[in-house]
């Protein structure tokens, strides 16, 4: 939150903006005018008001009815990466810990689902909670040593995890289950109960339900006692422990929750793509997720979906501009976004809120 804090203190003229901006939707009244905006940041800044949320949900529900299957597939991937970015957002935006190792958790989730579906014949929907629980455990355990590290050192430790994962998946020892370098092909589920919809559309709505459930869970988590503990640790670890917060427990818990959600996203990703292979989960994926979080706005949960859209669609845009220089074009676009909107999508939301506020006043 320090970024917003800085903005507010450095530039008193945007005081009004932030006050409005940080309280989206219908319940803007309950923020008493005059109380400094900073106080309202932790709880409300992380979420969207009911009104905006419902509009967003309606859009997500209706759009697939009017587009081609390919677009539905892209939207499904949008939700899945959105979930993974959300998980990172809880970790970094919520508890202030960095991770460049999310691709490892994503891979574990994806492989858990794929192996359960293809080798054990488990129903795809049931594999997701298993993937989530396994990744929660994995993240929680990884969180233990990670406790001793912070800032860039933690980022490096998680980076190591991400680089190691594809090679671990290739190990001969696991090959009977993982299929080694050849990967595993996953069967795509049909719509149940004979519903008249394509596999893609069914999978989209299934993913949407999971995503919405996890989103509500995350919002509530951050509003809860644990969420406040995360944020206290993020803002000042010493102060937090002085207040009686078990810093070690909550830090590892944040890692676990983040890894668990990433695992569910990985499982969904395996089902949507119908294929898992070690090369799908390289460090590039971890960096993409990190990028998505920054572009969406660190600590602003609804921004996750914007960040996810950025990592899915902007490379395609870059490629259509120039095939040979797609990487460079992507870099320029990214630079522009970071330069013009250092707080990502949240900043855009703030500006919109400001405009709406002005219109109302007139």
């Amino acid at each position: 939150m320090s970024a917003v804090q800085d903005a507010v203190t450095k530039n008193p003229t945007i005081d009004v903006v932030s006050e409005n901006a940080l309280t989206f939707g219908v319940d803007s009244q309950d923020v008493a005018i005059g109380i400094p905006a900073i106080d309202a940041v932790p709880k409300r800044a992380m979420t969207l008001g009911y009104g905006s949320s419902l509009v967003m949900l309606a859009l997500l529900l209706l759009v697939p009815l009017f587009v081609k299957n390919f677009i539905i597939f892209q939207l499904t991937m949008l939700l899945i990466y959105g979930l993974a970015v959300l998980a990172l957002n809880i970790l970094t935006g919520g508890s202030g810990q960095f991770s460049l190792g999310q691709s490892a958790f994503y891979a574990v989730g994806a492989y858990t689902s794929a192996i359960l579906m293809e080798h054990a014949g488990v129903n795809y929907a049931l594999t997701l909670p298993v993937a989530g629980i396994i990744c929660f455990g994995f993240g929680f355990l990884f969180g233990q040593p990670a406790l001793r590290l912070s800032g860039v050192y933690l980022a490096l430790a998680t980076f190591a995890l991400a680089t190691a994962m594809p090679q671990l998946l290739k190990l001969n020892f696991f090959e009977p289950w993982t299929g080694g370098v050849q990967g595993l092909v996953v069967t795509k589920p049909d719509a149940p109960f004979g519903l008249p919809m394509s596999q893609d559309m069914w999978l989209y709505y299934f993913t949407l339900v999971v995503t919405v459930a996890i989103y509500i869970f995350s919002v509530n988590l951050l509003k809860s006692r644990s969420g406040r503990a995360f944020m206290a640790i993020r803002d000042n670890e010493i102060a937090a422990s002085a207040m009686g917060i078990d810093v070690a427990l909550y830090k590892t818990l944040a890692f676990g929750v983040s890894a668990g959600i990433t695992g569910v996203a990985g499982g969904l990703g395996a089902i949507a793509v119908q294929f898992v292979a070690p090369d799908s989960y390289t460090i590039t994926l971890a960096i993409q997720l990190f990028l998505g979080m920054v572009v969406g706005g660190v600590g602003w949960l609804p921004g996750s979906i914007v960040g996810s859209a950025f990592i899915i669609f902007v490379p395609n845009i870059a490629e259509s501009v120039s095939k040979g220089l797609s990487g460079a074009v992507f870099g320029v676009l990214l630079f522009l976004v970071i330069f013009l909107m250092p707080h990502g999508a949240r900043q855009v939301a703030m500006i919109c809120q400001q405009l709406v506020g002005k219109l109302r006043k007139n």
């Binding site: 390919f70 090679q167 080694g180 990967g183 793509v273 119908q274 292979a277 090369d279 095939k323 797609s326």
Partner: protein, 409 residues
Amino acid sequence: MLSAKKARIAAFATAVTVFAATSGSALAQKKYDTGATDTEIKIGNIMPYSGPASAYGVIGKTEEAYFKKINAEGGINGRKIDFISYDDGYSPPKAVEQARKLVESDEVLLIFNPLGTPSNSAIEKYMNAKKVPQLFVATGATKWNDPKDFPWTMGWQPSYQSEAHIYAKYLMKEKPDGKIAVLYQNDDFGKDYLKGLKDGLGAKVSMIVAEESYETSEPSIDDHIVKLKASGADVFINISTPKFAAQAIKKIAELGWTPLHIVSNVSSSVGGVIKPAGYENSQGILSAAYAKDGADPQWDNDPGMKKFFAFLEKYYPDANKIDGSTVYGYGAAQTMVKVLQMCGDDLTRENVMKQAASLKDFAPDTLLPGVKINTSATDFAPIEQLQMMRFKGEKWDLFGDIISDEPGN
């Protein structure tokens, strides 16, 4: 009298045949699937223009240039080729997204020469469910020759197993009492090769006295070489990627070990492997090839390669002519054009697969003389011939006959 009658009958017969032939083609319905029209044929492609394998992006660019040349020369049966090539960064999920974009959004007739074993594995099931040709995939894995289970997927280059069979044949003939040591990379490439070698040796598989595998993450493979030498082998088969192949050649020279040394075609590049390993260390090494080498002066006056160089000069002037990827892309694109020409006015996906599976003795300009493409409804492996070569001086010398790995040989 008799002969006049005969002549009349013959003339009549000819007339009937000619009539049947002409009316046949005149009456033939133009048939199209999505992606083909009277004026255009849409071809999709997926390449790693970015990411770890981006060096192969040259293949896609060469193919694009080749189709530009075909269009400039009037297209295929009057139809221009619209070549849509996307980047997947060598990432399987991205390949799935791009394949779906090509099939469902751009509505291409087929996807041609998508690169990489992981990417092709990821889209194989989708392409076959959609019944869209996944033609001439750019990978050496053996699994693409499976017309029964995947009738919409076909390879192009010789598979790793085919190449290994050829080495096995050579060894059984030239060195039947040899003791073989194998070094292989622990991944799909290395394991495919090893399987091919063992299958090729068949009953004589006991010729292999030592096997060592290495991980691509190992900084050096010296230990493995020392162990293999200790096995007392007199044949060394080097199934490794360029960096490791060069290390192995050097180490063997250092140890003073002089086995019959075979390196895989993947690592036979003079510039990428032999030169860094040292010419003096590489004399007498064996390998096999199916395409001409743009860097080799012996092809400078070859009519096929002259056409290839002229093409590069006019349509892809910034290309590096000694990059094997340009030779590869040219040959693959030429095969694609041949198939589309054979399709005539029946540009349905089914007919494309049917024609792709009826190539007879087709020889693209950049393949070695004598290497021909043959396919059938049960043989989805277009190139199955290679020629052995020996390194001498500063270049490879081809020797012996073209060896074929067609089924039944």
